[in-house]
């Protein structure tokens, strides 16, 4: 009986503590399977009650646009710079306490902060192909006629569209269209997302795939015969893609939101991205698993472009004209 009373008092006290620390509401396009441990840890450390609405970038963004100033959300956390860019009018300018942390990829508008980095790579079936057989640049891929009918890609997927936007920025629209036409002659197979494409490599439906680096890692761990090929340094085929988050104008908890973003940029939270998700951190100092390249090396691989200048609209237009969207 006494124990029960103590328990009740303790529970009430904890409840009061949580009340005192307030709450935080996040709309997260990053899936629960990936980032839930981070959210739980922040909650445990700070006592701030975090509510997360998980979904897909596009759907959550559409909801935020409908909700406008009435949105219950404080933070929008997304997988792609495209979604974050589109959400820019809904977000506040972040304070220097946040924007000073990442070692790069900060958007010029300062409305969202990068949180982790992924890279575009070529995945291949290690039982059928050798890395020596691949060209230095992704731009030469259309000339690899021996790969006809053996290539997989995801033209409807956001990362691929970012890649096309970067290609337009680096090589111009004409070259990009030429590249798409050349690729189409190799009869690539279209997948809606990356995991089914990895399954297709396993099943021999395709032997190479244009994908993001971290998917491969997970399938390699499960024993799939898939290797990672990096294009040459500075090649658009090795484009870096950032995930990130920003604080919404509708937020009534700007202090807690700021605290959450600063925490996500702390060494401990940043270590979570390479350690658990095989993604690269945006701050220096994290220890990378042996299957990942050193951070400086991988950053040098991505072409040097201003991410604010990536025009998703142009990429979509070119993809539509090529009949891929």
């Amino acid at each position: 009986m006494k124990n029960l009373r103590i328990a009740i008092v303790a529970a009430l006290a904890l409840g009061a503590l949580a009340q005192a620390q307030g709450t935080l509401t996040i709309y997260s396009g990053r899936s629960q399977g990936l980032v839930d441990p981070l959210v739980k840890q922040f909650q445990a450390e700070t006592g701030i009650k975090v509510n997360v609405k998980y979904g897909r970038d596009a759907e959550l963004l559409a909801a935020l646009q409908e909700e406008g100033a009435r949105s219950p959300a404080d933070i929008f956390w997304a997988n792609t710079s495209g979604a974050l860019g589109a959400a820019q009018p809904l977000m506040i300018k972040l304070p220097a306490s946040i924007t000073s942390k990442p070692s790069g990829f900060m958007p010029g508008s300062g409305t969202w902060t990068p949180l982790s980095i992924r890279f575009r790579v070529l995945a291949y079936n290690t039982q059928k192909l050798k890395p020596e057989q691949f060209p230095q640049s992704v731009m030469e891929l259309p000339q690899q006629t021996q790969l006809k009918g053996r290539i997989g890609w995801t033209p409807t997927y956001s990362s691929f569209q970012d890649f096309i936007a970067a290609m337009i920025l680096v090589h111009g629209e004409a070259k990009t269209k030429e590249w798409l036409e050349g690729m189409k002659r190799l009869e690539p197979k279209v997948y809606p997302s990356n995991p089914p494409m990895m399954e297709a490599i396993r099943a021999g439906e395709i032997d190479v795939a244009l994908t993001n680096h971290y998917y491969i890692q997970r399938f390699v761990k499960a024993g799939y015969p898939i290797g990672t090929y990096y294009f040459a340094k500075g090649d658009v085929g090795s484009l870096a893609l950032v995930t990130g988050a920003g604080i919404l104008k509708s937020s009534k908890n700007v202090a807690n939101s700021t605290r959450f973003l600063i925490w996500l940029l702390s060494p401990k939270a940043q270590q979570f991205f390479p350690g658990e998700l095989f993604e690269y951190p945006v701050t220096k100092g994290a220890i990378l698993p042996t299957t990942l390249n050193p951070l400086d090396d991988i950053l040098a691989r991505s072409p040097k472009i201003d991410f604010e200048k990536l025009q998703l609209d142009n990429a979509l237009k070119v993809l539509r004209e090529a009949g891929l969207l």
């Binding site: 509401t25 899936s31 629960q32 399977g33 990936l34 839930d36 441990p37 509510n51 997360v52 609405k53 998980y54 979904g55 897909r56 970038d57 596009a58 759907e59 959550l60 963004l61 559409a62 909801a63 646009q65 409908e66 909700e67 009435r70 219950p72 959300a73 495209g82 979604a83 589109a86 409807t156 956001s158 569209q161 197979k189 279209v190 997948y191 809606p192 997302s193 995991p195 089914p196 990895m198 399954e199 297709a200 396993r202 099943a203 021999g204 439906e205 998917y215 997970r218 399938f219 761990k221 499960a222 024993g223 658990e276 998703l312 609209d313 979509l316 539509r320 009949g323 969207l325």
Partner: protein, 519 residues
């Protein structure tokens, strides 16, 4: 018809109008958004040759899946109602369960099972060709949507008056002739209702066709929202899809008009005597096993196989998601049935252009892409009833309005079979219209009601876009968890949810089936 001269009783008219209005809201929203379009861009995006191709792809798939599901569901429904097959209820539950498997999971698991070093080869040494393209999409959609038709046909078969068949037999018709000339024509309402759901499902499907690399119209709509984050042009494409659905609905209503299948005899209908299968029994088992193996056994086995192969990293807790799924889906099923009953009743008993139109609006709600439906509810709830926004109540209402069409069919089929004379007699005995309905007609609708509950429940449990956007913040269901983990290839974490969604649905369907004979 007999009853149409009487004025429609307000007990039915008012709820029916409310249900119709609830479904039309999303259309109003789409109209608002569509009007924001810039005409030139609009013409570029909508009047593309590619859209025509997608439209043709969609229609081809629609026709194929309708034929496929009819050929599969009819014998299955007959076997589980009219034959002397043992364990009819057991088979009925099993054969309904493919509805519990979210389409994207089913299709993805079938892809994981097939091809070199797929699950089937690793475990059984069978290198089954991978499904893809038109036939891949066709096969997977038939496997996962035939239960819509199966449940409707079962309800229809169970409600048939066997004395008609006996009369035909006594006139010298052989059994097969009786089936073709007497039974089959009577199943028309069930065919139309089930076929309509299958058709609408095919029109709206995105998960299966994209994994099968077959492009349809709803694929284009989803891309518009997800690739360009654009609500305006997506609204146009959604309206075009709804137009297509309108065509399908018009066709169905033409086919339905003038039907009357109620009993005219006195007394209550008996159950038909089971037909002995004899040596045909051995042929019936492969037929029963095809959907069970293809849509349940192989997908679940693949999930387990993945779960053992992929590293397990997160601790998952299934109880909360299970409770959340139950809390949202069970009331949604009930509300949907309550909303659909007056619509079905008016459509059958007071046939007029108006009551037909009202009934059809329910199907338009079903045809509205769920993402657009969810955005519409955000739009209106924030403006009209902000205190309801992101509450469980709104989610339940959203499920109920969206899936109401699934509830109409089985009850409508049952209403066609319930003799209006019983109700008229009750009226003559001095009961009011509502009481007369409850005492004379409602008991005869029981099986239809159960089938309706099952359909809406199963659809709500596996629903994704409405749940993502309208559920209270932090509310995860079995389906959202399966999606969260499979989309990141975290199969070990997804497997328990996938098994649970099927088990849980099995319990619910089993409970409903066990009630079938109570009345």
């Amino acid at each position: 018809m007999r009853a149409s001269r009487r004025p429609i009783p307000w007990h039915f008219l008012i709820p029916a109008l409310i249900a119709g209005a609830g479904v039309l809201l999303p259309l109003a929203y789409l109209g608002v958004r569509a009007l924001e379009a810039d005409p030139r861009t609009l013409a570029e995006l909508v009047l593309r040759e590619r859209n025509l191709r997608l439209l043709l792809n969609t229609v081809a798939l629609l026709v194929g899946v309708l034929l496929g599901t009819a050929l599969l569901a009819l014998p299955l429904a007959w076997l589980t109602t009219r034959s002397d097959l043992r364990g009819k209820r057991f088979w009925t539950v099993l054969l309904t369960l493919p509805l519990a498997v979210p389409g994207f999971v089913g299709a993805y698991a079938l892809l994981g099972a097939t091809g070199p070093s797929g699950m089937l080869e690793a475990v059984l040494g069978i290198d089954w060709p991978r499904p893809w393209g038109y036939w891949g999409a066709w096969g997977v959609l038939v496997l996962f949507t035939y239960p819509y038709l199966f449940l409707n046909l079962r309800a229809g078969l169970l409600g048939l008056d066997p004395s008609l068949e006996e009369a035909a037999q006594s006139l010298g018709y052989r059994r097969m002739e009786v089936f073709l000339k007497v039974v089959l024509p009577q199943l028309r309402p069930a065919f139309y209702a089930g076929g309509l759901l299958v058709g609408l499902h095919v029109l709206g499907d995105f998960g299966v066709v994209s994994l099968m690399r077959y492009e349809t119209f709803s694929y284009a709509i989803y891309l518009q929202y997800s690739a360009s984050f654009d609500r305006v042009y997506a609204a146009w494409l959604s309206l075009m899809l709804i137009g297509l659905t309108g065509g399908l609905l018009w066709l169905e209503s033409r086919l339905l008009s003038g039907l009357s299948f109620s009993r005219v005899g006195l007394g209550s209908a008996r159950l038909a005597r089971p037909v002995p299968l004899g040596p045909w029994r051995w042929l019936s088992y492969p037929l029963l096993l095809v959907p069970v193996v293809g849509a349940l056994l192989i997908p679940l086995a693949t999930m387990l196989y993945w779960a053992l192969r992929f590293p397990y990293e997160n601790r998952v807790s299934v109880t909360e998601a299970l409770a959340n799924s139950a809390q949202a889906a069970a009331p949604a099923a009930l509300v949907a049935v309550l909303l659909a009953l007056p619509l079905a009743y008016l459509g059958v008993r007071f046939p007029s252009p108006f009551s037909r139109l009202l009934e059809r609006t329910a199907y338009l709600g079903y045809a509205t892409p769920p993402l657009a439906f969810a955005l519409a509810l955000i739009f209106f709830s924030l403006r009209g009833v902000p205190f309801l926004y992101q509450t469980l109540a709104l989610l339940v209402l959203a499920y109920a309005l969206h899936f109401m069409a699934e509830a109409i069919g089985p009850m409508r089929s049952a209403l066609y079979q319930a003799p209006p004379r019983l109700e008229e007699a009750a009226r003559n005995l001095g009961f009011g219209p509502l009481q007369a309905f409850l005492k004379a007609t409602f008991p005869l609708l029981w099986r239809g009601v159960l089938a309706s509950l099952a359909l809406v429940f199963l659809s709500s449990v596996k629903e994704l876009p409405l749940t993502f956007l309208l559920a209270p913040v932090g509310y995860s269901t079995l389906a959202t968890q399966i999606w969260a983990y499979t989309s990141e290839a975290m199969y070990a974490e997804a497997a328990p949810y996938a098994l649970l969604i099927v088990l849980f649905s099995a319990c619910f369907v089993g409970l409903l089936i066990s009630q079938e004979r109570r009345r």
